[in-house]
Symmetry: C2
Subunit: 305 residues, 2 copies
Protein backbone atom coordinates (compact mmCIF):
# COMPACT_ATOMS: atom_id res chain seq x y z
CA UNK A 1 0.00 0.00 0.00
CA UNK A 2 1.23 3.46 -0.92
CA UNK A 3 2.04 6.41 1.31
CA UNK A 4 -1.22 7.24 3.12
CA UNK A 5 -3.10 5.95 0.07
CA UNK A 6 -6.32 5.57 2.07
CA UNK A 7 -6.32 9.29 2.83
CA UNK A 8 -7.95 11.76 0.45
CA UNK A 9 -5.70 14.52 -0.76
CA UNK A 10 -7.13 17.02 1.71
CA UNK A 11 -5.84 19.66 4.12
CA UNK A 12 -5.53 17.06 6.90
CA UNK A 13 -3.32 14.77 4.82
CA UNK A 14 -1.21 17.72 3.71
CA UNK A 15 -0.78 18.82 7.34
CA UNK A 16 0.58 15.35 8.18
CA UNK A 17 2.89 15.18 5.15
CA UNK A 18 4.20 18.72 5.75
CA UNK A 19 4.81 18.01 9.42
CA UNK A 20 6.70 14.78 8.78
CA UNK A 21 8.73 16.44 6.02
CA UNK A 22 9.66 19.29 8.40
CA UNK A 23 10.75 17.17 11.38
CA UNK A 24 12.83 14.83 9.21
CA UNK A 25 14.60 17.56 7.20
CA UNK A 26 18.02 17.50 8.78
CA UNK A 27 19.03 21.00 7.69
CA UNK A 28 15.64 22.55 8.36
CA UNK A 29 14.45 24.68 11.24
CA UNK A 30 11.80 22.15 12.26
CA UNK A 31 14.18 19.18 12.47
CA UNK A 32 13.63 16.75 15.36
CA UNK A 33 16.17 13.97 16.04
CA UNK A 34 14.71 10.44 15.77
CA UNK A 35 14.91 9.79 19.53
CA UNK A 36 12.45 12.66 20.11
CA UNK A 37 10.00 11.61 17.39
CA UNK A 38 7.34 10.33 19.77
CA UNK A 39 3.79 9.88 18.46
CA UNK A 40 0.94 8.98 20.82
CA UNK A 41 -2.42 7.62 19.68
CA UNK A 42 -5.61 7.08 21.57
CA UNK A 43 -7.08 3.67 20.73
CA UNK A 44 -10.91 3.55 21.13
CA UNK A 45 -12.44 5.57 18.30
CA UNK A 46 -9.01 6.63 17.03
CA UNK A 47 -7.41 3.38 15.86
CA UNK A 48 -10.39 1.01 16.08
CA UNK A 49 -14.14 1.43 16.38
CA UNK A 50 -15.77 2.29 19.70
CA UNK A 51 -19.39 2.51 18.50
CA UNK A 52 -21.99 1.52 19.73
CA UNK A 53 -19.69 0.74 22.65
CA UNK A 54 -16.00 0.02 23.24
CA UNK A 55 -14.82 -3.53 22.48
CA UNK A 56 -13.68 -3.67 26.12
CA UNK A 57 -17.35 -3.53 27.17
CA UNK A 58 -18.26 -6.35 24.78
CA UNK A 59 -15.39 -8.28 26.33
CA UNK A 60 -16.72 -7.51 29.81
CA UNK A 61 -20.20 -8.78 28.91
CA UNK A 62 -18.78 -11.99 27.42
CA UNK A 63 -16.61 -12.51 30.50
CA UNK A 64 -19.63 -12.10 32.80
CA UNK A 65 -21.37 -14.80 30.74
CA UNK A 66 -18.34 -17.08 31.14
CA UNK A 67 -18.26 -16.46 34.89
CA UNK A 68 -22.01 -17.05 35.24
CA UNK A 69 -21.68 -20.36 33.40
CA UNK A 70 -19.23 -21.46 36.10
CA UNK A 71 -21.09 -19.82 39.01
CA UNK A 72 -24.85 -19.66 38.27
CA UNK A 73 -25.48 -17.66 41.46
CA UNK A 74 -24.22 -14.60 39.58
CA UNK A 75 -27.42 -14.65 37.51
CA UNK A 76 -29.31 -13.45 40.57
CA UNK A 77 -26.68 -11.01 41.90
CA UNK A 78 -26.19 -7.39 40.92
CA UNK A 79 -24.45 -5.95 39.04
CA UNK A 80 -23.96 -9.27 37.13
CA UNK A 81 -27.70 -9.83 36.69
CA UNK A 82 -28.07 -6.44 35.04
CA UNK A 83 -25.24 -7.19 32.59
CA UNK A 84 -26.72 -10.57 31.66
CA UNK A 85 -30.19 -9.07 31.18
CA UNK A 86 -28.88 -5.95 29.39
CA UNK A 87 -30.65 -3.93 32.06
CA UNK A 88 -29.04 -0.54 31.50
CA UNK A 89 -31.26 1.24 34.03
CA UNK A 90 -30.02 -0.93 36.90
CA UNK A 91 -26.45 -0.72 35.64
CA UNK A 92 -26.62 3.07 35.78
CA UNK A 93 -28.02 2.87 39.32
CA UNK A 94 -25.14 0.60 40.34
CA UNK A 95 -22.90 3.49 39.30
CA UNK A 96 -19.14 3.67 39.41
CA UNK A 97 -18.85 1.15 42.24
CA UNK A 98 -20.82 -1.44 40.26
CA UNK A 99 -18.69 -0.81 37.18
CA UNK A 100 -15.47 -1.25 39.16
CA UNK A 101 -16.77 -4.51 40.63
CA UNK A 102 -17.54 -5.73 37.12
CA UNK A 103 -14.18 -4.60 35.80
CA UNK A 104 -12.24 -6.39 38.52
CA UNK A 105 -14.40 -9.53 38.45
CA UNK A 106 -13.75 -9.88 34.72
CA UNK A 107 -10.15 -8.62 34.50
CA UNK A 108 -8.49 -9.41 37.85
CA UNK A 109 -7.81 -12.30 40.23
CA UNK A 110 -5.50 -14.05 37.79
CA UNK A 111 -1.96 -13.76 36.53
CA UNK A 112 -0.99 -11.43 33.69
CA UNK A 113 -0.22 -14.45 31.56
CA UNK A 114 -3.58 -16.14 32.27
CA UNK A 115 -5.42 -12.95 31.33
CA UNK A 116 -3.47 -12.69 28.09
CA UNK A 117 -4.67 -16.15 27.07
CA UNK A 118 -8.30 -15.29 27.89
CA UNK A 119 -8.05 -12.06 25.88
CA UNK A 120 -6.50 -13.76 22.86
CA UNK A 121 -9.14 -16.52 22.90
CA UNK A 122 -11.85 -13.84 23.01
CA UNK A 123 -10.38 -11.99 20.03
CA UNK A 124 -10.35 -15.26 18.09
CA UNK A 125 -13.96 -16.16 18.95
CA UNK A 126 -15.83 -12.84 19.12
CA UNK A 127 -17.49 -10.83 16.36
CA UNK A 128 -18.44 -7.15 16.28
CA UNK A 129 -22.28 -7.11 16.13
CA UNK A 130 -22.40 -4.51 13.36
CA UNK A 131 -19.26 -5.17 11.33
CA UNK A 132 -19.45 -8.95 11.62
CA UNK A 133 -15.75 -9.58 12.09
CA UNK A 134 -13.38 -10.02 15.02
CA UNK A 135 -12.88 -6.85 17.07
CA UNK A 136 -9.16 -6.85 16.38
CA UNK A 137 -9.99 -6.46 12.69
CA UNK A 138 -12.24 -3.43 13.21
CA UNK A 139 -9.22 -1.19 12.63
CA UNK A 140 -9.18 2.02 10.63
CA UNK A 141 -7.01 1.42 7.58
CA UNK A 142 -5.92 5.08 7.20
CA UNK A 143 -4.62 4.98 10.77
CA UNK A 144 -2.74 1.73 10.32
CA UNK A 145 -1.12 3.35 7.26
CA UNK A 146 -0.33 6.46 9.28
CA UNK A 147 1.36 4.42 12.02
CA UNK A 148 3.49 2.66 9.40
CA UNK A 149 4.29 5.94 7.66
CA UNK A 150 5.42 7.53 10.92
CA UNK A 151 7.62 4.56 11.84
CA UNK A 152 9.13 4.59 8.34
CA UNK A 153 10.11 8.16 9.15
CA UNK A 154 11.85 7.32 12.40
CA UNK A 155 8.94 7.83 14.79
CA UNK A 156 8.25 5.62 17.77
CA UNK A 157 4.48 5.03 17.99
CA UNK A 158 2.66 4.60 21.30
CA UNK A 159 -0.92 3.89 22.32
CA UNK A 160 -2.25 5.99 25.21
CA UNK A 161 -5.73 4.68 25.92
CA UNK A 162 -8.45 4.78 28.55
CA UNK A 163 -8.94 1.09 27.78
CA UNK A 164 -7.39 -1.65 29.87
CA UNK A 165 -3.67 -1.99 29.16
CA UNK A 166 -3.68 -5.80 29.06
CA UNK A 167 -6.55 -6.18 26.59
CA UNK A 168 -4.79 -3.77 24.21
CA UNK A 169 -1.46 -5.53 24.60
CA UNK A 170 -3.11 -8.81 23.60
CA UNK A 171 -3.66 -7.55 20.02
CA UNK A 172 -1.76 -4.28 19.39
CA UNK A 173 1.52 -5.79 18.25
CA UNK A 174 -0.07 -7.88 15.53
CA UNK A 175 -2.73 -5.33 14.57
CA UNK A 176 -0.79 -2.07 14.63
CA UNK A 177 2.85 -3.07 14.89
CA UNK A 178 2.93 -1.44 18.34
CA UNK A 179 4.84 -3.60 20.83
CA UNK A 180 3.50 -4.26 24.33
CA UNK A 181 6.02 -1.92 25.96
CA UNK A 182 4.64 0.97 23.88
CA UNK A 183 1.09 0.51 25.14
CA UNK A 184 -0.12 2.76 27.98
CA UNK A 185 -3.63 2.23 29.30
CA UNK A 186 -5.81 1.97 32.36
CA UNK A 187 -4.42 -0.56 34.79
CA UNK A 188 -4.98 -2.34 38.05
CA UNK A 189 -2.29 -3.01 40.61
CA UNK A 190 -0.02 -5.98 40.04
CA UNK A 191 1.18 -8.13 42.91
CA UNK A 192 4.32 -10.24 42.78
CA UNK A 193 3.62 -13.72 44.17
CA UNK A 194 5.43 -17.03 44.29
CA UNK A 195 3.33 -20.03 43.27
CA UNK A 196 5.18 -23.31 43.82
CA UNK A 197 8.46 -21.51 43.33
CA UNK A 198 7.36 -19.73 40.16
CA UNK A 199 7.11 -15.94 40.30
CA UNK A 200 3.92 -14.50 38.82
CA UNK A 201 2.28 -11.11 38.60
CA UNK A 202 -1.29 -11.31 39.85
CA UNK A 203 -3.85 -8.77 38.68
CA UNK A 204 -5.30 -7.37 41.91
CA UNK A 205 -8.82 -5.94 42.30
CA UNK A 206 -7.42 -2.47 42.92
CA UNK A 207 -7.17 0.44 40.53
CA UNK A 208 -3.69 1.65 39.63
CA UNK A 209 -4.51 4.28 37.03
CA UNK A 210 -7.55 5.32 35.00
CA UNK A 211 -5.75 6.59 31.93
CA UNK A 212 -8.07 9.33 30.74
CA UNK A 213 -8.06 13.14 30.45
CA UNK A 214 -5.31 14.80 32.58
CA UNK A 215 -3.95 11.36 33.51
CA UNK A 216 -2.97 10.66 29.89
CA UNK A 217 -0.15 13.24 29.80
CA UNK A 218 0.83 12.27 33.37
CA UNK A 219 1.21 8.65 32.24
CA UNK A 220 3.13 9.78 29.16
CA UNK A 221 5.52 11.47 31.59
CA UNK A 222 5.83 8.30 33.64
CA UNK A 223 6.14 5.76 30.81
CA UNK A 224 7.83 7.74 28.04
CA UNK A 225 9.47 10.72 29.74
CA UNK A 226 9.33 12.82 26.59
CA UNK A 227 6.73 15.27 25.32
CA UNK A 228 5.22 13.79 22.12
CA UNK A 229 5.56 15.77 18.93
CA UNK A 230 2.42 14.21 17.40
CA UNK A 231 -0.79 13.14 19.15
CA UNK A 232 -4.00 11.76 17.69
CA UNK A 233 -7.29 11.45 19.57
CA UNK A 234 -11.03 11.58 19.04
CA UNK A 235 -12.69 12.73 22.26
CA UNK A 236 -12.43 15.16 25.15
CA UNK A 237 -10.60 12.39 27.00
CA UNK A 238 -7.68 13.08 24.64
CA UNK A 239 -7.69 16.86 24.94
CA UNK A 240 -5.06 17.12 27.69
CA UNK A 241 -2.73 14.81 25.70
CA UNK A 242 -3.28 16.89 22.57
CA UNK A 243 -2.60 20.16 24.40
CA UNK A 244 0.48 18.72 26.12
CA UNK A 245 1.75 17.74 22.69
CA UNK A 246 0.73 20.90 20.85
CA UNK A 247 2.11 23.41 23.37
CA UNK A 248 5.66 22.04 23.32
CA UNK A 249 8.25 24.12 21.51
CA UNK A 250 9.17 23.42 17.88
CA UNK A 251 7.14 21.56 15.28
CA UNK A 252 4.08 19.85 16.79
CA UNK A 253 0.95 18.24 15.38
CA UNK A 254 -2.27 17.40 17.23
CA UNK A 255 -4.99 15.60 15.29
CA UNK A 256 -8.62 14.96 16.22
CA UNK A 257 -10.74 12.37 14.42
CA UNK A 258 -14.37 13.41 14.00
CA UNK A 259 -16.80 10.53 13.50
CA UNK A 260 -19.11 12.17 10.97
CA UNK A 261 -19.62 9.21 8.67
CA UNK A 262 -23.02 7.65 9.32
CA UNK A 263 -22.82 5.68 6.10
CA UNK A 264 -19.47 3.94 6.46
CA UNK A 265 -19.19 3.85 10.27
CA UNK A 266 -21.15 6.17 12.60
CA UNK A 267 -21.81 9.85 13.26
CA UNK A 268 -21.45 10.92 16.87
CA UNK A 269 -19.69 13.46 19.05
CA UNK A 270 -21.10 15.42 22.02
CA UNK A 271 -23.98 13.07 22.73
CA UNK A 272 -21.91 9.88 22.85
CA UNK A 273 -22.07 9.49 26.62
CA UNK A 274 -19.44 6.73 26.78
CA UNK A 275 -16.77 9.16 25.48
CA UNK A 276 -18.09 12.55 24.40
CA UNK A 277 -16.38 14.98 22.04
CA UNK A 278 -17.39 18.59 22.65
CA UNK A 279 -14.70 20.95 24.01
CA UNK A 280 -11.94 19.55 21.80
CA UNK A 281 -14.12 20.08 18.71
CA UNK A 282 -15.38 23.52 19.75
CA UNK A 283 -11.89 24.78 20.58
CA UNK A 284 -9.84 22.93 17.97
CA UNK A 285 -8.97 26.17 16.15
CA UNK A 286 -8.01 28.00 19.31
CA UNK A 287 -5.83 25.11 20.50
CA UNK A 288 -4.20 24.53 17.12
CA UNK A 289 -5.72 21.07 16.69
CA UNK A 290 -6.23 19.71 13.16
CA UNK A 291 -9.67 18.11 12.78
CA UNK A 292 -9.81 15.00 10.60
CA UNK A 293 -13.21 14.24 9.08
CA UNK A 294 -13.80 10.53 8.63
CA UNK A 295 -16.28 11.28 5.87
CA UNK A 296 -14.18 13.74 3.90
CA UNK A 297 -10.56 12.86 4.68
CA UNK A 298 -10.63 9.07 4.44
CA UNK A 299 -10.98 7.18 1.17
CA UNK A 300 -11.76 3.97 3.02
CA UNK A 301 -12.50 3.40 6.70
CA UNK A 302 -11.89 -0.21 7.64
CA UNK A 303 -8.87 -2.33 7.12
CA UNK A 304 -10.34 -5.21 5.11
CA UNK A 305 -7.32 -7.43 4.95
Amino acid sequence: MGELSSWNDSAAKRAILDFVAAVTDEGGSGYVPPSERIATFDNDGTLWCEHPMQPQLFFLVDRVKQLAAKDPSLKDRQPYKAVLERDLKTLREEGKQGLMELAFATHAGMSEEAFDKIAKAWFAASRHPKHGKPFNQCLYRPQVELLQFLRANGFKTFIVSGGGIDLIRAFAEEAYGIPREQVIGSSGRLRYELHDGKAVLMKAAELNSFDDREIKPANIGLHIGRRPILAFGNSDGDLAMMRYTRTGSGARLALLLHHDDEEREAAYDRDFHLSPLAEALDKADEYGITVVSMKHDWKVVFDDH
Copy 2:
Protein backbone atom coordinates in the same frame (compact mmCIF):
# COMPACT_ATOMS: atom_id res chain seq x y z
CA MET B 1 36.02 -2.52 21.63
CA GLY B 2 35.58 -6.24 21.06
CA GLU B 3 32.79 -8.58 22.14
CA LEU B 4 32.73 -8.34 25.95
CA SER B 5 36.46 -7.67 25.84
CA SER B 6 36.46 -6.24 29.37
CA TRP B 7 35.21 -9.56 30.72
CA ASN B 8 37.64 -12.29 31.71
CA ASP B 9 37.10 -15.61 30.00
CA SER B 10 35.32 -17.08 33.01
CA ALA B 11 32.20 -19.11 33.72
CA ALA B 12 30.09 -15.94 34.01
CA LYS B 13 31.13 -14.70 30.57
CA ARG B 14 30.53 -18.14 29.07
CA ALA B 15 27.05 -18.24 30.65
CA ILE B 16 26.23 -14.94 28.92
CA LEU B 17 27.66 -15.99 25.56
CA ASP B 18 25.93 -19.39 25.67
CA PHE B 19 22.62 -17.81 26.62
CA VAL B 20 22.73 -15.22 23.84
CA ALA B 21 23.78 -17.89 21.32
CA ALA B 22 20.83 -20.07 22.37
CA VAL B 23 18.10 -17.42 22.22
CA THR B 24 19.28 -16.13 18.83
CA ASP B 25 19.66 -19.55 17.17
CA GLU B 26 16.59 -19.63 14.96
CA GLY B 27 16.45 -23.38 14.57
CA GLY B 28 17.36 -24.14 18.17
CA SER B 29 15.16 -25.19 21.06
CA GLY B 30 16.04 -22.07 23.07
CA TYR B 31 15.14 -19.58 20.34
CA VAL B 32 13.34 -16.40 21.45
CA PRO B 33 11.94 -13.98 18.84
CA PRO B 34 13.46 -10.48 18.99
CA SER B 35 10.28 -8.87 20.33
CA GLU B 36 10.56 -11.02 23.46
CA ARG B 37 14.27 -10.38 24.03
CA ILE B 38 13.78 -8.10 27.02
CA ALA B 39 16.75 -7.46 29.34
CA THR B 40 16.32 -5.51 32.58
CA PHE B 41 19.19 -3.98 34.54
CA ASP B 42 19.27 -2.45 37.97
CA ASN B 43 21.27 0.80 37.90
CA ASP B 44 22.88 1.62 41.30
CA GLY B 45 25.72 -0.84 41.89
CA THR B 46 24.92 -2.72 38.69
CA LEU B 47 25.63 -0.21 35.91
CA TRP B 48 27.29 2.56 37.90
CA CYS B 49 28.88 2.86 41.32
CA GLU B 50 26.75 3.21 44.45
CA HIS B 51 29.53 3.23 47.04
CA PRO B 52 29.95 4.92 49.52
CA MET B 53 26.45 6.10 48.69
CA GLN B 54 24.21 6.35 45.62
CA PRO B 55 24.83 9.32 43.29
CA GLN B 56 21.19 10.27 43.92
CA LEU B 57 22.12 11.01 47.55
CA PHE B 58 25.06 13.18 46.49
CA PHE B 59 22.61 14.97 44.21
CA LEU B 60 20.20 15.40 47.12
CA VAL B 61 22.90 16.92 49.33
CA ASP B 62 23.98 19.33 46.58
CA ARG B 63 20.34 20.31 45.98
CA VAL B 64 19.84 21.04 49.69
CA LYS B 65 22.90 23.31 49.52
CA GLN B 66 21.41 25.11 46.50
CA LEU B 67 18.09 25.52 48.30
CA ALA B 68 19.77 26.74 51.49
CA ALA B 69 21.68 29.34 49.49
CA LYS B 70 18.34 30.74 48.34
CA ASP B 71 16.56 30.27 51.67
CA PRO B 72 19.03 30.50 54.59
CA SER B 73 16.32 29.59 57.09
CA LEU B 74 16.78 25.95 55.99
CA LYS B 75 20.14 25.96 57.76
CA ASP B 76 18.29 25.94 61.07
CA ARG B 77 15.48 23.58 60.10
CA GLN B 78 15.47 19.78 60.21
CA PRO B 79 15.97 17.62 58.28
CA TYR B 80 17.88 20.19 56.11
CA LYS B 81 20.20 21.20 58.94
CA ALA B 82 21.27 17.58 59.44
CA VAL B 83 22.05 17.20 55.73
CA LEU B 84 24.11 20.37 55.64
CA GLU B 85 26.01 19.37 58.77
CA ARG B 86 26.38 15.72 57.70
CA ASP B 87 24.68 14.80 60.95
CA LEU B 88 23.80 11.17 60.25
CA LYS B 89 22.47 10.52 63.75
CA THR B 90 19.76 13.17 63.43
CA LEU B 91 19.02 12.07 59.87
CA ARG B 92 18.37 8.55 61.08
CA GLU B 93 16.11 9.93 63.83
CA GLU B 94 14.15 11.90 61.23
CA GLY B 95 13.43 8.52 59.64
CA LYS B 96 11.43 7.79 56.53
CA GLN B 97 9.31 10.91 56.88
CA GLY B 98 12.39 13.12 56.97
CA LEU B 99 13.83 11.38 53.94
CA MET B 100 10.60 11.80 51.97
CA GLU B 101 10.54 15.52 52.86
CA LEU B 102 14.11 15.83 51.61
CA ALA B 103 13.36 13.87 48.45
CA PHE B 104 10.35 15.99 47.54
CA ALA B 105 12.00 19.31 48.50
CA THR B 106 14.91 18.52 46.18
CA HIS B 107 13.09 16.68 43.35
CA ALA B 108 9.53 18.09 43.22
CA GLY B 109 7.62 21.37 42.93
CA MET B 110 8.83 22.00 39.40
CA SER B 111 8.06 20.81 35.89
CA GLU B 112 9.62 17.67 34.43
CA GLU B 113 11.53 19.82 31.98
CA ALA B 114 12.87 22.17 34.70
CA PHE B 115 14.10 19.18 36.71
CA ASP B 116 15.83 17.74 33.67
CA LYS B 117 17.85 20.96 33.29
CA ILE B 118 18.84 20.92 36.98
CA ALA B 119 19.90 17.27 36.74
CA LYS B 120 21.98 17.82 33.59
CA ALA B 121 23.69 20.85 35.11
CA TRP B 122 24.53 18.78 38.18
CA PHE B 123 26.04 15.98 36.11
CA ALA B 124 28.19 18.53 34.31
CA ALA B 125 29.42 20.20 37.52
CA SER B 126 29.69 17.41 40.10
CA ARG B 127 32.54 15.00 40.81
CA HIS B 128 32.52 11.65 42.59
CA PRO B 129 34.56 12.17 45.80
CA LYS B 130 36.55 8.97 45.37
CA HIS B 131 36.81 8.54 41.60
CA GLY B 132 37.26 12.23 40.86
CA LYS B 133 35.09 12.36 37.76
CA PRO B 134 31.49 13.21 36.94
CA PHE B 135 29.00 10.70 38.31
CA ASN B 136 27.71 9.92 34.83
CA GLN B 137 31.20 8.67 33.98
CA CYS B 138 31.40 6.29 36.96
CA LEU B 139 30.02 3.53 34.75
CA TYR B 140 31.18 -0.07 34.69
CA ARG B 141 32.78 -0.69 31.32
CA PRO B 142 31.96 -4.44 31.21
CA GLN B 143 28.30 -3.58 31.69
CA VAL B 144 28.25 -0.91 28.99
CA GLU B 145 29.78 -3.55 26.69
CA LEU B 146 27.17 -6.08 27.76
CA LEU B 147 24.32 -3.65 27.00
CA GLN B 148 25.76 -3.04 23.54
CA PHE B 149 26.31 -6.75 22.97
CA LEU B 150 22.72 -7.55 23.90
CA ARG B 151 21.32 -4.84 21.64
CA ALA B 152 23.51 -6.06 18.79
CA ASN B 153 21.76 -9.40 19.29
CA GLY B 154 18.27 -7.99 19.05
CA PHE B 155 17.61 -7.35 22.75
CA LYS B 156 15.78 -4.32 24.06
CA THR B 157 17.57 -3.10 27.19
CA PHE B 158 15.74 -1.49 30.12
CA ILE B 159 16.79 0.03 33.43
CA VAL B 160 14.67 -0.96 36.44
CA SER B 161 16.04 1.03 39.35
CA GLY B 162 15.14 2.08 42.88
CA GLY B 163 16.63 5.46 41.95
CA GLY B 164 14.52 8.39 40.83
CA ILE B 165 13.31 7.93 37.26
CA ASP B 166 14.02 11.51 36.18
CA LEU B 167 17.61 11.64 37.39
CA ILE B 168 18.37 8.44 35.48
CA ARG B 169 16.65 9.68 32.35
CA ALA B 170 18.84 12.78 32.40
CA PHE B 171 21.96 10.70 31.61
CA ALA B 172 21.02 7.12 30.59
CA GLU B 173 20.57 7.71 26.88
CA GLU B 174 24.02 9.21 26.44
CA ALA B 175 25.76 6.96 28.96
CA TYR B 176 24.21 3.57 28.24
CA GLY B 177 22.32 4.01 24.98
CA ILE B 178 19.10 3.38 26.92
CA PRO B 179 16.37 5.81 25.83
CA ARG B 180 14.18 7.62 28.35
CA GLU B 181 11.15 5.43 27.59
CA GLN B 182 13.15 2.35 28.61
CA VAL B 183 13.93 3.69 32.08
CA ILE B 184 11.77 2.53 35.00
CA GLY B 185 12.49 3.94 38.43
CA SER B 186 11.04 5.36 41.60
CA SER B 187 8.68 8.21 40.82
CA GLY B 188 6.46 10.89 42.28
CA ARG B 189 3.05 11.78 40.95
CA LEU B 190 2.88 14.08 37.95
CA ARG B 191 0.18 16.71 37.63
CA TYR B 192 -0.95 18.18 34.34
CA GLU B 193 -1.23 21.97 34.60
CA LEU B 194 -1.70 24.85 32.20
CA HIS B 195 0.70 27.75 32.72
CA ASP B 196 -0.20 30.73 30.51
CA GLY B 197 -1.72 28.37 27.98
CA LYS B 198 1.26 25.99 27.98
CA ALA B 199 0.67 22.47 29.28
CA VAL B 200 3.29 21.21 31.72
CA LEU B 201 3.76 18.18 33.94
CA MET B 202 4.51 19.28 37.49
CA LYS B 203 6.40 16.97 39.83
CA ALA B 204 4.15 16.76 42.89
CA ALA B 205 5.35 16.07 46.46
CA GLU B 206 3.56 12.73 46.49
CA LEU B 207 5.01 9.26 45.99
CA ASN B 208 3.84 7.32 42.96
CA SER B 209 6.04 4.25 43.22
CA PHE B 210 9.13 3.19 45.17
CA ASP B 211 10.63 0.86 42.61
CA ASP B 212 12.36 -1.69 44.80
CA ARG B 213 11.99 -5.39 45.71
CA GLU B 214 8.54 -6.81 44.77
CA ILE B 215 7.61 -3.52 43.11
CA LYS B 216 10.30 -4.01 40.44
CA PRO B 217 8.55 -6.93 38.71
CA ALA B 218 5.19 -5.17 39.21
CA ASN B 219 6.54 -2.11 37.39
CA ILE B 220 8.01 -4.34 34.69
CA GLY B 221 4.47 -5.66 34.20
CA LEU B 222 3.09 -2.14 34.01
CA HIS B 223 5.74 -0.56 31.77
CA ILE B 224 6.93 -3.46 29.62
CA GLY B 225 4.19 -6.07 29.81
CA ARG B 226 6.59 -8.92 29.09
CA ARG B 227 8.60 -11.16 31.39
CA PRO B 228 12.30 -10.38 30.84
CA ILE B 229 14.52 -13.20 29.64
CA LEU B 230 17.63 -11.64 31.20
CA ALA B 231 17.93 -9.63 34.42
CA PHE B 232 21.01 -8.20 36.12
CA GLY B 233 21.12 -6.87 39.68
CA ASN B 234 23.43 -6.54 42.65
CA SER B 235 21.34 -6.49 45.83
CA ASP B 236 18.37 -8.05 47.58
CA GLY B 237 16.32 -5.21 46.11
CA ASP B 238 16.75 -6.97 42.76
CA LEU B 239 15.89 -10.47 43.92
CA ALA B 240 12.19 -10.40 42.99
CA MET B 241 13.09 -9.12 39.50
CA MET B 242 15.69 -11.86 39.11
CA ARG B 243 13.27 -14.57 40.24
CA TYR B 244 10.48 -13.22 38.02
CA THR B 245 12.93 -13.43 35.12
CA ARG B 246 14.49 -16.76 36.02
CA THR B 247 11.26 -18.68 36.66
CA GLY B 248 9.73 -17.96 33.24
CA SER B 249 9.63 -20.84 30.78
CA GLY B 250 12.37 -21.33 28.20
CA ALA B 251 15.90 -19.95 28.25
CA ARG B 252 16.44 -17.43 31.06
CA LEU B 253 19.46 -15.79 32.64
CA ALA B 254 19.63 -13.96 35.99
CA LEU B 255 22.93 -12.36 36.94
CA LEU B 256 24.08 -10.92 40.26
CA LEU B 257 27.09 -8.62 40.54
CA HIS B 258 29.10 -9.14 43.73
CA HIS B 259 31.19 -6.15 44.79
CA ASP B 260 34.25 -8.02 46.04
CA ASP B 261 36.94 -5.77 44.63
CA GLU B 262 38.34 -3.57 47.41
CA GLU B 263 41.28 -2.61 45.24
CA ARG B 264 39.59 -1.40 42.07
CA GLU B 265 36.22 -0.33 43.54
CA ALA B 266 34.85 -1.56 46.87
CA ALA B 267 34.03 -4.77 48.73
CA TYR B 268 30.61 -4.85 50.34
CA ASP B 269 27.47 -6.97 50.55
CA ARG B 270 25.33 -7.77 53.60
CA ASP B 271 26.55 -4.89 55.73
CA PHE B 272 25.93 -2.16 53.17
CA HIS B 273 22.86 -0.73 54.88
CA LEU B 274 21.84 1.50 51.97
CA SER B 275 21.22 -1.57 49.79
CA PRO B 276 22.24 -4.89 51.36
CA LEU B 277 23.02 -8.10 49.51
CA ALA B 278 22.42 -11.21 51.61
CA GLU B 279 19.54 -13.49 50.58
CA ALA B 280 20.25 -13.22 46.85
CA LEU B 281 23.89 -14.20 47.47
CA ASP B 282 23.08 -16.99 49.93
CA LYS B 283 20.42 -18.50 47.67
CA ALA B 284 21.92 -17.80 44.27
CA ASP B 285 22.50 -21.50 43.59
CA GLU B 286 19.03 -22.55 44.69
CA TYR B 287 17.40 -19.81 42.59
CA GLY B 288 19.55 -20.45 39.51
CA ILE B 289 21.24 -17.06 39.68
CA THR B 290 24.71 -16.64 38.15
CA VAL B 291 27.02 -14.67 40.46
CA VAL B 292 29.46 -12.30 38.75
CA SER B 293 32.56 -11.45 40.75
CA MET B 294 33.82 -7.96 40.03
CA LYS B 295 37.28 -9.04 41.11
CA HIS B 296 37.53 -12.23 39.09
CA ASP B 297 35.20 -11.77 36.13
CA TRP B 298 36.04 -8.23 35.06
CA LYS B 299 39.29 -7.27 33.36
CA VAL B 300 38.63 -3.59 33.98
CA VAL B 301 35.97 -1.93 36.12
CA PHE B 302 35.44 1.65 35.03
CA ASP B 303 34.69 3.04 31.65
CA ASP B 304 37.60 5.45 31.17
CA HIS B 305 36.53 6.99 27.93
